[in-house]
Symmetry: C2
Subunit: 415 residues, 2 copies
């Protein structure tokens, strides 16, 4: 069953926001075994929306449209959709009640413009909105289904999970997908190191997807039945696991910090971090996991030399002789934060995030990551690029990867 | 001149990554005064790509396609495009030289698969790639222009800035746009508080764009000439500035942290932060600005009570009597970090980020933000929602907004 995802809104076609709704829908529908073929976006203009609906209903069996169901003047979707499917409107008092109650719960009076949201197309079936005011709706015509959902991501997602996905689930084809996430090896090297690419392609469809700090390998197996999908996918995954064991850190939606968190939970170990160039991003990533207070004790963003000395006990001589961006400082930062927090591990970053502040000896992109445990401490040197945010991110990935490797060693030794 | 942006790649239509290339191109081309009408994405299949080119060249005068120019097996764009425009290939030795040199500079041998990137369609004009290996190219046919660029964002952007945008600039229509960024007021209230919406719409096209922690108001003025655009836009902006002065924190691309950073630079003030529930994200935002070491002294991510007492000097009695998530703890954290870092301001966060860890008295989403300066200290209470990452982000926005307001008071008093 072929699907088109249609995003409606000037904010999308003028690039004011990224179209994360389309990628969410594409990901979820693909996982259900549906064949997402087109992602389309048009602005808040009735004629463009009509043309997009015409086209989508010609080439797809399912259309999922998001956006333009809000209460203000530029929200035209409901009116255009009703006209398109020759439907009048009916007033649904229950919807108005719900909208009023939602505003009341947040201690605010309902603005008058929200009243209109209780008018819905008569020929459509309503999609309840469990987390917001605008209801969705869907039409069926000539065996094709056309869904309309609000553009607010949390509302759209809740409505999909509650109503749309259960409706569409039975139309999916047998299909299994796996993402293998790697770090420390470029896309073309991955490609070249696979001995018999054609053989592997007989089992699965393969794509290399570079992302900041690593490359993902996406595998898709299709077959007559679920068991055969599973078998083909497993065979491909096993081959790649053997080949790239050193570079694989996780699978599917797992982020590097998720993997590190699982290892810390499992081994009951704790960590504290001392950051300079990453400015808090390392602590942020480590605390994005629910329950992180079990392993994360504290972080210090020691931006000034004074903070490095005061809190972490980095020696003035070290800073003077080697500089704040040096192997020695990284080591003392990691040791220092481990000591004051009494954790199993200390992790540190110091570098020149850029875009300014580089010198010939210490260029923009130079980063040291320090690690300390009960047995000692060391630092590794990296040379990234010019972009400040990317460099912060790459340094954090490098630090998390060092911690991951140390945790794996530990797990191996205690097995 | 109507533009279609075409993104090519299975990673897009399966939702593996967000289509940030399309939003970048849409934003930049709209700013040049071009009329971006359609954003389309298709997968790595020759037939789908051909159909998408057919459609785009029917309805648009300019097509900008990205993706599928890499060196591996799933990159089909160059082959399909050459066939589509009836072009053979030529080998360009200079391109091979450049690719080899780029690999050498990074201390790596060039994988053999990259050689193919020096083959380009004969009928196309080459678009140089200043930051990567894959060149782009563009065809002109029946007065329509069709550009092909790599999908790697940094490469695509560099090639647009160097070649594509200069080529297209002269086709833009007079047009002025402004984004007004607000915090602390919902979309429907903004809409209702505008006295004569129809009058305002005579000057500019208006859209309300909710984002995490605030609502943007986007204004677009079009007219016969640049001066008239400017006049209409300014009149609309002035009206909204008067109306919503308390809620407006910035304009266009300015993030809240940019505005705070500019005020700190301007007033030569310094800040230190003590974070619990935001886990480093506040420090990360404050250090995303180049030169932030001028105002950011240090941050402490005091996740454990021990860290709150050890580093920040929060009293054990306070933690015992009121708990870690309390007004009193927030105040002592802000005071404590200001004291040890000798900065002008101390800022703190403590709360229940969720999704677990709430109690009836202290539910998920409860957050206190503390502020301290030479005159005293206080904390404000917020009640956000259930999502951990959104709550971290909302708490950071709230903290930055408190600092912004204090800085504005200070600037007003010293004027």
């Amino acid at each position: 069953m072929q699907v088109e995802i249609l995003t409606i809104g000037d904010e999308i076609i003028t690039g004011h926001i990224d179209n994360t709704n389309a990628s969410y829908l594409a990901r979820q529908l693909t996982a259900l075994g549906l064949d997402v073929k087109w992602l389309t976006a048009v602005g808040d203009q009735a004629s463009d929306l009509r043309a997009a609906l015409d086209l989508a209903l010609t080439r797809a069996q399912v259309v999922i449209a998001t956006g333009g169901l809000g209460p203000t003047h530029d929200d035209i979707t409901k009116k255009v959709a009703a006209e398109y499917f020759n439907s009048s409107f009916v007033f649904v008092p229950e919807i108005l009640q719900k909208i009023k109650a939602a505003f009341e719960a947040r201690g605010r009076p309902m603005p008058k413009v929200n009243e209109d949201q209780a008018m819905v197309p008569e020929k459509a079936r309503i999609i309840e909105n469990p987390v917001g005011s605008a209801p969705g709706f869907w039409f069926e015509k000539d065996g094709k289904k056309c869904f309309f959902l609000p553009g607010v991501p949390a509302e759209m997602k809740a409505m999909c999970e509650q109503t749309v996905f259960p409706l569409l689930k039975s139309y999916g084809q047998p299909r299994r997908e796996k993402i293998i996430r790697t770090i420390g090896i470029p896309e073309s090297t991955l490609f070249e190191q696979i001995d018999n690419f054609k053989n592997l392609e007989r089992l699965v469809k393969i794509a290399f997807l570079p992302r900041s700090g690593g490359v993902d390998i996406r595998l898709i197996a299709t077959a007559e039945n679920e068991e055969e999908c599973e078998r083909k996918l497993n065979q491909a995954v096993q081959y790649l696991q053997q080949k790239f064991s050193k570079n694989i850190y996780g699978y599917d939606e797992q982020e590097l910090e998720d993997v590190v968190a699982q290892l810390l939970f499992q081994l009951k170990k704790t960590v504290a971090v001392a950051e300079s160039c990453t400015g808090g991003l390392l602590a942020h990533k480590l605390t994005n996991i629910s329950g992180s207070s079990d392993y994360f004790e504290r972080g210090v963003v020691s931006y000034s030399n004074q903070a490095k000395m005061d809190i972490l006990g980095v020696r003035a001589e070290t800073l003077q002789k080697f500089g704040a961006v040096s192997e020695q400082t990284a080591v003392e930062m990691a040791q220092g934060v481990r000591k004051i927090s009494r954790t199993d591990f200390g992790l540190s970053t110091t570098g020149i995030a850029g875009p300014t502040g580089g010198t010939p000896e210490k260029p923009v992109g130079l980063v040291y990551v320090g690690f300390a445990d009960a047995h000692g401490a060391y630092a590794k040197r990296y040379h990234f690029f010019k972009d400040r945010l990317l460099n912060k991110n790459r340094a954090v990935m490098a630090a998390l990867n060092i911690l991951r490797k140390e945790l794996l060693k530990l797990r191996h030794n205690t097995d």
